[in-house]
């Protein structure tokens, strides 16, 4: 999995490309934990390039969200593909996480 990190004012946008499965979960966890540890707490994850996610991937995102929230920030999501979105719905995570249609809206939601 390829992971790019972009800065949009004080918001950090993480852009993974590929499948967010058990094989990629560790890598994503490391990237997110490092950002949070460095104090980059306004995080957006752009899932536009992610066509597959499983419970390991979800677990990684939830853990990072909790970590960011505990430190006073948040991890928001945007640009979910339909299949990926269905997984967030089945697990009710869609109600718990902050999910935006586009990257622009996710970044703007920080105000």
């Amino acid at each position: 999995m390829e992971i790019q990190v972009a800065q949009s004012q004080d918001v950090t946008v993480v852009v993974p490309t590929g499948d967010l499965d058990m094989g990629a979960a560790d890598q994503v966890r490391r990237v997110l934990t490092e950002l949070i540890d460095k104090g980059q707490l306004k995080l957006v994850m752009d899932l536009g390039g992610v066509g597959y996610i499983d419970s390991s991937g979800l677990g990684t995102l939830v853990a990072a969200m909790k970590q960011a929230r505990a430190a006073g920030g948040n991890l928001k999501l945007c640009a979910l593909q339909d299949d990926v979105r269905s997984i967030f719905e089945m697990t009710r995570l869609i109600k718990v996480m902050s999910v935006h249609p586009t990257r622009q809206e996710a970044v703007a939601s920080w105000g």
């Binding site: 499983d54 419970s55 979800l58 677990g59 939830v62 909790k66 997984i87 089945m90 697990t91 718990v96």
Partner: protein, 140 residues
Amino acid sequence: MRDGGPEGTFVLTSEPQHLARLRDWLRGELTRLKVENQEQFGLQVAVGEICSNSIRHAYAGLGGKPIHVSVQGSEDRLVIEVRDFGKKFDPEAYRPPDFEAVPEGGIGLHLVRQFVDELSYDVTQEQGTRWTLVKYRRRG
């Protein structure tokens, strides 16, 4: 139960039935102190919860025990005090509720079930597990 005491205080005993009368009294006090109507409900809930806790936790549900409630208003704030005389609140033990709780485990098999019509396992093997996933075919 009695509701004597100085103006601005109310004394009830620890039966849940008295909570409604406490709320009525509180509404009167808040109105006297010119608290807006839309804020009164929330303060009733707040004081009601604190007193319910005194009944349930400080007095373990036992009736006949005293709870003192007082309300004071100054220009910039309202101060409401609730006092019980039972078991003490232990802040160390208190954990706020986690409304964002998400099941941490067990999501995998849940997802599997969303996508197949039958999920079965055969564990009669010496070692390991054999899982069988069946999906009915859609006619068309």
